[in-house]
Symmetry: C2
Subunit: 306 residues, 2 copies
């Protein structure tokens, strides 16, 4: 089923204890689209880059089935750039540089062919831009997923609350769920956030897995314990891409299916961190993904009848 | 099957955002024994109290099937006392007071009837005392479980490493696993800790669940997301008590059964935090425990075949 993704397409410079990668391809929409491309081929990207963004990388996205009709290329301008350094524990990082560049006045325009998509994935961006995308849809999509972060809660809470009323699924981390709801208990936070609009809430807890809530229903997806985390950049976006990609493929928004979507998202994220940048997402095989999902199943399986 | 538990029997003064409980019953061995008493009745406690410890509480332990022959009561002395205050997030706490009292020169003596027990649970104490208990066993027990904490890693690492060589299961939290192994990745930490002696490793991650390792095998038990955590005191000990109690009941140390034991431990811990002190552990019904275990199963269940 058709999926519209909005988010950044960008350059990252990443330093981890394992090494440094300079000006490599990054951006939420890049990770989301690549992860989703393993599940569905009706992928439609909305973003903006400068004329410094390599043609080869755009061609690669097209090859993976990503429609770039909604990607604006601004002549004479530079692409969004982020530089960060991870601490030894890989769970925290410092931002060294953020250059908005083309993103500063990004005004998303959805091509006509995008406006009846069944699924919409709003990557982490200002809530106002996310709202502009929703407003351009001709028909209410079957499912709108929104990813956001504490930064927007700090500086744009009223706009964020407005757009939350329009979405079906919110994906945030545990600290953000606490900040948004004012509740420490994630069970109480989920209840408070449901009242703000989203019927489903996905709380991403990094190495501690993810929680899915719908009303009283709860699902706990583990994270795969890994011997080596090489580069965590894009793991959350890759999770979102696997999640929405699986839902778009199966065209099923039941809680049971969304549980599987959370596992597929977790599986894709567990691959993403194995190499720098989008590299691991370039060479996955369907059988590897299926095997990783089975590994997740085995990780939590026990016989409760004894 | 027979279980010997060594650990503290003590008084706690606990302050949480929900209120304060003064000089209530606590201690690792108390929580372990009470939790285990829901699974097996061949329970043998080794500990020491002063003559200030209430008879009624000892009678209650006996009523739950706990053999107190190995509990020394020191006339004219005071029981171990701990006072702590939890922060708003309930995940961290400050110790206000620790009075060792009778614990200062505790020299555990195992009654003859204890020395052929099949299962031994060494609650958090100095590694030297834990070793003294092992040495008094006439036959190698089927399974020895050791719980410890960062404090002993800081001040008694050589003794801890000696006793680790003698045990089958180590239970510690994630930060302690990292400290003990020098590895950040828990997968690598588990490998390093296996080499120190314990065939099984249980990493307790509090609200993020628990991991069980045996060689290359891994199992991830979630924690039950709770609307209210009233008092986390004793949750780790209660986990250990449910874990070893279930193993002693089933007399089965296979990985498959140990997975269930981790879930039973998690279920007991999820009850423990619902009330102050040992109160919730006093009035549980078998059906409640079974229902909670089923809830854990439902929390992680998904159909991987689709």
């Amino acid at each position: 089923m058709s999926l519209v993704t909005v988010g950044t397409v960008a350059f990252d410079t990443i330093e981890t204890p394992f090494g440094k990668a300079e000006r490599v391809v990054g951006g939420a929409a890049t990770y989301i689209s690549l992860a989703a491309s393993y599940f569905t081929k009706d992928l439609n990207l909305v973003s903006v880059v400068g004329d410094d963004f390599p043609d080869a990388e755009l061609k690669y996205l097209k090859k993976r089935g990503v429609n770039l009709e909604g990607l604006e290329i601004k002549e004479g301008q530079k692409s969004f750039f982020w530089e960060g350094r991870y601490h030894n524990d890989m769970n925290s990082r410092d931002t060294i540089t953020t250059e908005l560049n083309v993103l500063a006045d990004f005004n998303p325009k959805l091509p006509a062919s995008y406006r009846e998509a069944k699924y919409v994935m709003l990557g982490n961006l200002t809530p106002d831009i996310q709202m502009k995308v929703i407003k351009q849809m001709k028909k209410r999509p079957k499912l709108i997923v929104l990813d956001t972060m504490n930064f927007w809660m700090d500086i744009a809470m009223p706009s964020l609350k407005k757009v939350l009323k329009k979405v079906d699924v919110l994906t945030i981390n545990d600290e953000e769920a606490r900040q948004l709801s004012g509740e420490y208990s994630l069970v109480k936070a989920a209840k408070a956030i449901h009242k703000m609009g989203p019927r489903f809430l996905v709380i991403k807890k990094g190495e501690h897995g993810a929680l899915l809530f719908e009303g009283e229903k709860m699902f706990y997806a583990p994270a795969m314990p890994l011997a080596e985390v090489f580069d965590p950049t894009g793991a959350g976006d890759t999770f979102a891409g696997g999640f929405i990609g699986y839902i778009a493929k199966t065209n099923n928004v039941s809680f049971e299916n969304m549980k599987r979507a959370v596992i597929y998202g977790s599986a894709m994220a567990s691959f993403c961190v194995e190499e720098f940048s989008i590299n691991r997402l370039k060479n996955l095989r369907a059988a590897e993904i299926k095997a990783r999902v089975k590994k997740f199943h085995k990780l939590v399986a026990f016989d409760a009848s004894k």
